[in-house]
Symmetry: D2
Subunit: 349 residues, 4 copies
Amino acid sequence: MKRLRVGILGATGLVGQRFIQLLDEHPQFEITALAASDRSEAKPFAEVCSWKLPTPIPERFRSLNVEPCRPLLDCDLVFSGMPSSIAGEIEEEFAKAGYPVISNSSNHRMDNDVPLLVPEINSSHLELIGVQKRSRKWERGFIVTNPNCTTVALVLALAPLADAFGLEAVSVVTMQALSGAGYPGVASLDAIDNVVPYIDGEEPKVETEPQKILGKFTNGLIEHADFRVSAQCHRVNVTDGHTEAVAVKLKKKATREALIEAMQQFRGEPQKLGLYSAPKRPVIVLGENNRPQPRLDRDLEGGMATVVGRVREDNILDFKFTLLGHNTIRGAAGAAILNAELLVAKALL
Amino acid sequence: MKRLRVGILGATGLVGQRFIQLLDEHPQFEITALAASDRSEAKPFAEVCSWKLPTPIPERFRSLNVEPCRPLLDCDLVFSGMPSSIAGEIEEEFAKAGYPVISNSSNHRMDNDVPLLVPEINSSHLELIGVQKRSRKWERGFIVTNPNCTTVALVLALAPLADAFGLEAVSVVTMQALSGAGYPGVASLDAIDNVVPYIDGEEPKVETEPQKILGKFTNGLIEHADFRVSAQCHRVNVTDGHTEAVAVKLKKKATREALIEAMQQFRGEPQKLGLYSAPKRPVIVLGENNRPQPRLDRDLEGGMATVVGRVREDNILDFKFTLLGHNTIRGAAGAAILNAELLVAKALL
Amino acid sequence: MKRLRVGILGATGLVGQRFIQLLDEHPQFEITALAASDRSEAKPFAEVCSWKLPTPIPERFRSLNVEPCRPLLDCDLVFSGMPSSIAGEIEEEFAKAGYPVISNSSNHRMDNDVPLLVPEINSSHLELIGVQKRSRKWERGFIVTNPNCTTVALVLALAPLADAFGLEAVSVVTMQALSGAGYPGVASLDAIDNVVPYIDGEEPKVETEPQKILGKFTNGLIEHADFRVSAQCHRVNVTDGHTEAVAVKLKKKATREALIEAMQQFRGEPQKLGLYSAPKRPVIVLGENNRPQPRLDRDLEGGMATVVGRVREDNILDFKFTLLGHNTIRGAAGAAILNAELLVAKALL
Amino acid sequence: MKRLRVGILGATGLVGQRFIQLLDEHPQFEITALAASDRSEAKPFAEVCSWKLPTPIPERFRSLNVEPCRPLLDCDLVFSGMPSSIAGEIEEEFAKAGYPVISNSSNHRMDNDVPLLVPEINSSHLELIGVQKRSRKWERGFIVTNPNCTTVALVLALAPLADAFGLEAVSVVTMQALSGAGYPGVASLDAIDNVVPYIDGEEPKVETEPQKILGKFTNGLIEHADFRVSAQCHRVNVTDGHTEAVAVKLKKKATREALIEAMQQFRGEPQKLGLYSAPKRPVIVLGENNRPQPRLDRDLEGGMATVVGRVREDNILDFKFTLLGHNTIRGAAGAAILNAELLVAKALL
């Protein structure tokens, strides 16, 4: 099979680096263009990128020139890992110029005609692509987004509960990794021996994205699901892996065992279609009482699963548990790549 | 004024070290005996203690012999910072032998006849001392306890809300410091680049102690307050200072401003009596949206206050906020010392 | 090819865990026995091991029983990752009972008749095995050791310099990872926001092992090389990867370029023989001025290489540079496995 | 005594914050002006400063306006904690305008006519002030500097050795704290689980400043001392406190005991004059084999001493030891303040 040629927007950032790492040996995609927002002229990737992953820059990208983030780029579609301060307009430009844009940025996530896609949960939302093209008068290009890093780990655990028992309210307190803020991101003096109880813009995203993701496509629109989410977000001294302390109120009675069973058995389109980056188990429930832990569990299923532990009854809402998701893999680049794989499988790319 | 002569049970542990540090220049107490549970024979403190505080061992205690934790000790009362695995019986022995025991250990906190004292909140519970002496047939000795480190920081913030608006439910997710586990305590490989979503025995304490503390002394008993607490406890990579993400459901309507005002204005007996270790402001509310932070705020008021930030409405319960307390000062040794100061002021020592 | 059946002594420790992880899919070895020093009776591995690696326990070992560290074990040879407090005698027992013992423990490293093997450097020292068997009257069994974790990373960089220029003196200041102390090992309160300038027993090892490793086998003995080593060892807040600041005095004049060239070109028996765990480049020299860094470079060549950076002239000795080695891979389990692979290639197993 | 009115240049940076903290209750100086390089217009300090010290901003400075770093400022002298990228010219401007400039910046340290002052060591270098005023034609103003943070901790330990035994060579490998890089400074992803073996511009300073400091004032010039220094500098995950592994070659024979004695007994002008910020013991030698440690020992003598441990013979040079200095107190603001106190005592202010 011929591989699709892809460009990376925001290639020098942490999410861009993950795109490059994860696509390095991908059977369906081949990186042919690297672009970064701060480039006015082309320079070799190894020279301009402050590479921060523990695996080295794949050899063939070291000398690939990083170009400005403007069409045209030499590729069939683009993955966007740009900061949201600039992603909005640039992504539209690319879509308008005919490129499918698979975006990790927050700018268009809540647009009425843009899918906020989690392939295990809402592949039906892909219908929005047609709506979007028509409304925006784009011929080939379109935008598909994945959720915020905290949201995606959360909704993977919520989806089976929503299916089986219905959701009424979700309380989530997060302990988020440093890599979520990019590079240089969080100053070391704010991280060491510390917790920062605030992440700019994070709580509103976590409180609104899940309802769109778990919503229904009806009459050309997504009808958002009707449960409430309350989020309290903290930055902790962890490189990768967001930990979330969750409590849920359900619509139907459930037992602890039924809850665990629902999460363990949860499978979606990526698992049925055998997509390349799909985790075998989107939600893993660990039995040990001191798990999940970021250092030990964030790389399960290649960083593409939500890892749950300590499921137990709650005396205010109904149940509580801890979950962990890899914020730059399933929470960013990996999510976008899985989205693209679904689009390929659905012949939308 | 003649200083009372005090002994420290568990003198070599982290809490014992805080007792020594905080009592070093105390106007009312003078350390005359050091005891540790693992001592079968007396040895100089500096030899047997793995001192872990950033201020050095006060010179005059370096050569003071550490004795076994058994009566008689050469002192008028004892502070206990022993591990709960052994504190229960030893504290009873000391009380029986005539020593007032001011304990930080969990063993007797929930005993019907033992005050679980937070001087700002429930000095009326000291009436239990008489009950206790009668029921246990102790003549001079008795036991007074302070709460768990997580609880005390929490109840200081809850008390003014309970007074002003009534409490119905409290949800708390904690990010607790390493020093809370003692020394050697948490292994470094469990702390670095990690969060551990479990602390043995912690959640049940946090879910039950607040109701006793905020309860009423009636007919020789404490009638526990009737709100529910749900706790999810995590260990994070911080030396000192427990951070807690709190949400509360109140009995009466309140505004954000009224909530903050109630916390800011909160004063109790220690403030009225001008006790030596009393924080001027037991609850400090910070206005910056990224505070409190352990590294920056744990030492406010000498580590004796609860520092609150990010007070805002919650869409599941009524309000949410973050709080921070110094776990080995107000959460342990400092709490016990304040208890002792109150006892002195009430002529109970 | 039929795989050799191996037993792991000290299977539940951090080094034992690395053995299990690295041997999981090894083409030449198959783990058939797990033993731990603290086991008086057999129990499933997953129950008794506090697994601390970021990849999960390989499924088939979860229920394998961990046995006491005593012969007989159901295997052809044993890898030993036992603590040195007990390894000495137990390893001799196993060798006496006919098992080749490939040991990471320090006990027998400096024995006159035991090879202290670094396959790239001194495969000729394997001649000692015959000497050893004769002198100890062991028929099939024998002991082969690998160096201390700090030493092995160091000597890989020194060997090419010794070859090309001769060594007169080596000064090394280390910044060592927490995993080097095992689990629980270093207390988190000693690691966070801290450096500990002492590691028990470490400096003498680093100051004496290199001379044996770089020595010559002559007349049934190793003639130690005659350079001096001075070591100052520190524990820093890093999970894996020892950083070493090195300065060397050479016997011949050299240029910076010649030094780098010698290290880059260095190859040994494992590379010639194409051993399974052999790094392609035993010494990697990075050109960036802020490398090597543990978080970014420790896993190069699967953790089997020494990574060097900042090679420059020194104004006291001749040259100085920084190096990094993965302390539980090339510094422990990986070193022992490479030793065993060499023994297989030399038909000594 | 009337207090001198001082201005702080670079008031919003980490060093500026230390100036404010340390001068808050100083008997001889009173802060009357705050200036920062990035201010084009005056704004209240609390609004523009990202305060990072664990004690709060002294109340009376919260609303003091921060002005641009240009003369005239309402004060008698200025302390400069500006970044070296801009300090050079601005300091000259202030000196020219008549202000004594007590600088922590590196720009003028090696100027022939500027004292690089460590009051315990080279108060005779103050003679340079006259030289400087004459050569630069400044009437009242002048510049006095203190060394780099790594240098000052080092020379305090070297000075007694130079006095007693003479110095031939000094090798130093540093493990430096994050606060040395200012704020935001080191990115958290470069600090966590990591060591960075490079600090821009640091090694040349450490290799040249000690010889000036330990030099002699002769004929209007400083004759630099003639020993060699070799430095290898690393950034480690520590908030405050630089650790240095030192080895020295001496001109005369010495014993370990004599070395320790020389350091312990070392006293200088600040101790004789009883200067306010002077440590009682400029060099403290600890006997425990695992000390000094930053978390435990950096605040000894209020952060104004060099703390030494593990003094022992070296088999390449003569002796080796570990030392620790507080990099933002004795290594920066505290050093400058002690310099100013000496100037007051010498009637030079």
